[in-house]
Amino acid sequence: MIAEIESHQIYAGTAGILFCLGLAGLFMCGHFLKKIIATKILGTSVFLLLVSLANRNQMEFADPVPHAMVITGIVVAVSASAFALALARRIWKETGRSTFEDNP
């Protein structure tokens, strides 16, 4: 039975679980940095799914469209994370807060 599972299916399934982990981390973790890391895990899970989808066809090369989407996605996600980091650092310096008041 196990022989029928393709490599990309394993990774796609992992992507689903990682997505939930990232989501939980984003909403349950308190510290700004952890929240930002959680968004990164969230993004990575989506990219993992896309790449494993690209890998499922057996042709001369893998589907390039998801690959391009993922590269775009990585840059966008890192840009957003860098912005979030800048905000978090500034809040820390100005107010000494590293969490949202409702999320100790």
Binding site: L42, V76, S79, A84
Partner: protein, 506 residues
């Protein structure tokens, strides 16, 4: 104008504001506002031209890079897009005119406010992109551009409360777009396409489609700040500076609403059910009550207006239960057109009214130095034009005639009664009542007599006039609705309305 040239207009709508943004960024600070306003005027002109071409020739499609779907990305404009584009164009132009004197004030010109123009113009480009893009992944990129520029604008002042609210907004936006992208990835896995039309043709019933659409929907609901997912909105919208608040409340939340609407009627119409429509309507109804109630209790005007946005967004969502119904023949469901028009009109009218309201509150806050409701006592004597703008915007928000808000609520109410879904009617009326409560509380303060003359800071006349013009626009679209309605009908997806039962045939 030939077809190719007029379809190139769609690309111009995105390229023009970006060009303006880059030029503004490269120019010295003192020239930026002028460049910004010129770009705004050009973009609005291009928007009007697009709307005119679409009204005359029908929907336009522009294949970016010359490749076309499925491999490339298409821009697509029909009546629905054009109505939203026009709203963005008009509100954007007047907010730009307002912003120039606003940021020229010394105490508003703190933080990195010289970046307002590049950020706002890129935001405008992304809004236009949201309304034009026909590609699921490109829409994700547009959502991110929109989110990042909106957050950057929100923290422009650099004040700690704005920073905290901005981070909250940013994280919510990232969460929303990631959920959306997960859905898109699954759609791509299922139908191997990203173009809306091709995806729509490939939608089937099945678990992956349900999950994909649920994720997309919930992601966009977070970005639209529908109750109970409005946790980021009041803070972000109330701590931003006045022109930014106007942009965020009037335009940015509309873009994700537009996307939900577009996907609901054009792409996922085979997946939607009556129950799902009712659920969206229920969220909207809860938003109306909760948002309006919270607005009523705020003492700070900007917070009040921000909470009011939560309530007014709710009205737009009443569109979904009313158009998602089981019927055999369009003639059997004459209210569909009313519901459709009402929901879209609410988005448009709220855009004008809310922009006017935030701009007017900005004038108050600048003149008095505080946006506390009690500090506006007796302002009618000294700022009659702004008080009048606030009143006009309030009339539209309440849904009093003659105003755009009235037309919207009238249509929604009529659809609710004729479709037999009467339970939305009390919600609409109660919402109006609560809205009247907070609007009149402000006006009452402004009209109240004062024993002493308050010393006001002078406010540039342009700011007062722009607020008034937008307030008047919210009223005028109620007087003369015909053109908007005709434009909305151009290739309306809706002429083939949502048929939840159609899926059963497959």
């Amino acid at each position: 104008m030939n077809a190719a040239a007029s379809s190139a207009l769609l690309a111009v709508l995105i390229a023009a504001p970006v060009t303006g943004a880059l030029i503004a960024f490269l120019l010295p600070v003192r020239l930026r506002a002028t460049a910004g306003i010129l770009t705004a005027a050009a973009t609005t002109a291009a928007t009007a031209a697009t709307a005119w071409r679409v009204a005359a020739d029908g929907a336009h499609r522009h294949a970016l890079g010359g490749w076309g779907a499925p491999l490339g990305i298409d821009l697509y404009a029909d009546g629905l897009s054009c109505v939203f584009l026009l709203m963005t164009g008009i509100v954007g132009l007047f907010v730009s005119v307002y912003a120039k004197p606003f940021f020229a004030q010394p105490e508003e010109n703190k933080g990195a406010t010289e970046l307002f123009w590049p950020l706002w113009l890129i935001l405008w480009a992304s809004l236009n992109g949201m309304f034009l893009s026909a590609d699921l992944f490109n829409l994700y990129v547009m959502l991110e551009v929109m989110g990042l520029s909106a957050v950057a604008l929100a923290v422009l002042s650099g004040r700690p409360p704005a920073l905290v609210a901005g981070l909250r907004y940013l994280l919510a936006a990232i969460a929303g777009s990631m959920a959306y992208l997960m859905g898109v990835a699954m759609i791509y896995g299922a139908v191997s396409a990203l173009d809306l039309q091709i995806v729509a043709a490939g939608i089937e019933q099945g678990r992956s489609f349900r999950v994909a659409f649920s994720l997309i929907l919930v992601g966009l609901l977070v970005k639209t700040a529908v109750f109970p997912l409005h946790f980021w909105l009041p803070g972000a919208h109330s701590t931003a500076q006045a022109p930014v608040s106007a942009i965020l409340s009037a335009l940015v939340v509309k873009a994700s609403f537009y996307l939900i609407l577009r996907l609901w009627v054009d792409v996922f119409d085979g997946s939607v059910t009556v129950a799902a429509g009712q659920a969206l309507g229920a969220l909207g109804a809860a938003a109306i009550i909760w948002g309006s109630y919270q607005a009523l209790r705020q003492r700070r005007l900007k917070l009040m207006v921000a909470h009011s946005t939560v309530g007014q967004i709710g009205y737009m969502f009443l569109l979904f239960p009313l158009i998602t119904v089981v019927y055999q023949d369009v003639a059997e469901a004459p209210w569909l057109a009313h519901a459709w028009t009402g929901g879209v009109y609410q988005a448009i009218a709220h855009g004008f009214a809310k922009a006017a309201m935030f701009l007017a509150v900005g004038v108050f806050a600048m003149a008095v130095g505080s946006d506390d409701r009690d500090s506006t006592v007796g302002l009618v004597g000294q700022l009659p034009m702004t008080t009048f703008a606030l009143a006009l915007a309030g009339v539209s928000l309440i849904g009093l005639p003659p105003s755009g808000g009235f037309v919207a609520k009238w249509m929604l109410l009529k659809a609710a009664f004729t479709s037999g879904q009467w339970w939305w009617a009390p919600v609409i009326l109660l919402g109006s009542f609560l809205t009247a409560g907070y609007v009149f509380m402000v006006l009452r303060q402004a009209f109240a007599p004062t024993s002493h003359k308050i010393k006001l800071k002078p406010v540039p006349r342009t700011m007062e006039v722009t607020a008034l013009v937008l307030g008047a626009a919210a009223i005028i679209i109620g007087f003369r609705a015909e053109e908007f309605l005709l434009l909305l009908d151009v290739e309306a997806a809706f002429q083939e309305p949502v048929e939840p039962h159609r899926a059963n045939d497959r």
